[in-house]
Symmetry: C2
Subunit: 442 residues, 2 copies
């Protein structure tokens, strides 16, 4: 009869929350410094807002919330009779749970367009939900962490977002490569290869290059009906490493040349300040999402084998789905869960995480316990994070508790005297209150 939680969901223990918040805080500080402001959107959105925005699979993976009250009253009776779940759903469920932060953001911009000053720079750190089959490292509830600028076409934004990636990952002590490409270059490639109408299929296949290798990519391109010659052109283009060489190949595609020009402009900004991490042009970078129309970005760790830990790009038509045209935007996302895993593998979290207890007070007698409470008040007044074992107890028991709480210092109060015990380096000394406060204030 022990209680459980739904498959694919998680409890976060104190240490896990503190570590995760360390990542969020590091990201947030940089967002703020770069002029981004937070928004939050509701967990539940109308299903009419969400449905059809994430493809067929996405629609299937949306968590749907049952209407309140006597929901069967308005249920589609035909669907009920046919036991047709698909058909029934819209009549018994009007709300769904946030699937990502991008569609709610587009909805927000359209709804609040009259109060927003464009260009609008917003960040958003909130959980999203997907009814994916739970498996190791894949959860039904997880945080997304996005920053976007909408209402400006300036390529300064792309440069700035690259700088944000650079700064955040430096601050986290991670060594990464920031990969850059442009959708227009991929469109140019498709044009040159004479398969513009198969552009989406092509990018979807190229996107898998890292996972399946070049031979498989070739195979899949052929399979989807692209001619041998066209595949040849695409595969050769994918070997190109520099924008200059690419300019030669794409010179007959206006679209492709526009992509190159855009990347050069981004570099004009980037060249004004060197980055800590490598920024690399990668023509094989495709990114699956079809709403991208310009620059695309992706970040990978150089030290730990793991998919991308960040990604983003420019989209020209995001708010169009909600009726607002011509609002260009560009944004990035941090893969918080993967960053957590990389940080864990590299043991990169600070030892003195914010939010940890500094000192535990203990006392074995009732009289000393009240004295300890007085000291506790004084340490707290000096802004020291501290705690008192809530009643007099056996010394051993209290020390065991201190160890379990990972606290670096213990103060034992005995006959009104204070003994400070260093739990890390295992020394101890008797001190008066002033010296204690001084010592623990760091």
């Amino acid at each position: 009869m022990k209680p459980t939680i739904p498959k694919g969901t998680r409890d976060f223990t104190p240490i896990q929350v503190l570590k995760r918040n360390y990542i969020f805080d590091t990201i947030k500080k940089v967002f703020i410094k770069y002029g981004y402001m937070p928004i939050e959107t509701p967990t539940m959105e109308n299903l009419s807002t969400l449905t059809g925005k994430y493809g067929e699979e996405g629609d299937r993976l949306l968590f749907k919330v049952l209407n309140s009250g006597d929901y069967l009253k308005k249920a589609n009776k035909e669907a009920l009779g046919d036991l047709n779940s698909n058909k029934l759903t819209s009549s018994i469920s009007k709300k769904g749970m946030r699937y990502d932060l991008t569609v709610p953001f587009a909805r927000y911009v359209v709804m609040h367009q009259n109060e927003i000053s464009f260009p609008f720079k917003r960040y958003q750190i909130q959980p999203v939900w997907r009814a994916d089959r739970p498996q190791k490292g894949r959860y039904q509830e997880f945080y997304q962490c996005d920053a976007d600028i909408v209402g400006s076409k300036s390529l300064m934004s792309e440069a700035e977002l690259i700088q944000i990636y650079d700064e955040v990952f430096s601050n986290l002590g991670l060594n990464v490569t920031i990969k850059v490409n442009n959708r227009k270059i991929l469109e140019g490639m498709a044009e040159i290869a004479g398969i513009s109408e198969k552009m989406v299929a092509m990018t979807t296949i190229i996107d898998k290059l890292d996972k399946i290798g070049i031979e498989k990519v070739k195979e899949e391109l052929l399979k989807c009906g692209i001619s041998e010659k066209s595949v040849q052109i695409i595969i050769e283009s994918l070997q190109i490493k520099t924008l200059t060489a690419l300019g030669e190949v794409l010179k007959d595609s206006e679209r492709g040349m526009k992509g190159i020009e855009e990347l050069n402009l981004v570099h004009e900004y980037l060249d004004l300040k060197s980055t800590t991490n490598k920024v690399e042009f990668d023509i094989t970078l495709a990114r699956g999402l079809n709403y991208y129309t310009g620059c695309i970005l992706e970040v990978v760790s150089n030290d730990v084998e793991m998919g991308s830990i960040g990604g983003g790009g420019r989209y020209d038509n995001l708010t169009e789905i909600f009726g607002l045209k011509d609002v260009s935007g560009v944004g990035i996302s941090f893969g918080a869960a993967r960053i957590f895993d990389v940080m864990t593998e590299l043991d990169n979290f600070p030892k003195d995480l914010e939010g940890l207890l500094t000192v535990l007070l203990i006392s074995e007698s009732k009289v000393d316990h009240l004295e300890a409470f007085k000291l506790l008040n004084q340490l707290r007044a000096a802004n020291i994070s501290c705690d008192l074992y809530p009643e007099p107890a056996k010394y051993k028991r209290m020390i065991k508790y201190a160890i379990n709480r990972n606290v670096p210092f213990v103060i034992n109060i005995e006959n009104g005297e204070y003994t400070l015990k260093d739990m890390v380096n295992s020394g101890q000394e008797k001190l008066n209150m002033e010296t204690l406060i001084q010592k623990l204030s760091k």
Copy 2:
């Protein structure tokens, strides 16, 4: 075709998030200083965990999540035939959304009991969902903000929680009264009045005293079948203002005297350090929730008429519903939304909220724009939150944008020179980079 959000839900604009975070951060800092650690629990819990824990109305107000896939396959066919929504629900929905933080916390403690070191002090700030009829000031999604200690019966915890209330509200600049009572005192009153079996009904009625007044309380007590004489005793007891006087009345009730003793012990701790806000014994304080068994607490603003902005108490049986007995706990909750409203009414938020932009750079020409980007990089390297209008534009337009973004400083870059404009006190001066950085770093 403009998109909407579900009734009873809200978007939070940047300023709203920053203000709300200011409240959360103030609370969090105090929680941490007092040795509480954060946990987070999933948004969705099994309905078996939630159902039956919040009374009949609570069950009705739970948001239920539709099972994924072909959910009608396992639906209760009889209920389907009868169009019986109530009976059908459990067969097509296994998960519900968090209704409060207390039940998930009890579930957490039971599930993690072997890894927790008791006493366990945790705080939790997460949204909850209730399918209440939406109305002004009442939302279907709102944050709760709780701190609890479980696994100790020490009354030091009650004292500490009162200190936390005192410190948080002082830090927010709010003038409050912290009301204290003890459930055992109310039980003693019921015993003395000879209506122990009607204790729950009695407290529910007393709980409404503030709203309905003493005459109505009398009426309702009589209506629920309590004799005139008993009602007389209860009403008289409710006039008592001191624990000493109460001791006289309750001297024949062991339970009641235990309640007085507990409150005296809490005061023994509290007397060791004076509080900024008034801590007041209030025998009329009942608090609706039936799981309280000892001290109960409530906080009201002295400056703004508004229900309680905080409340809590001790419960001896919280984890018993999940099979873990004898874990006493005590906790408090901050009414974040109401605190937000009080702060707004008193205009108590700091003007320089963390997360606001410090300075906006602007330039009217392409050459100056690149120069401005260089300056931008340098200001950011000095940790100044700043932004550059993303392309050269008309001066008026950029100044209007600066005003809309509420930024206190603007730097105009013209012919390579920097003019700092004070948007609050409306002066301006030409400065070099070093002086700028110095001035804006505060």
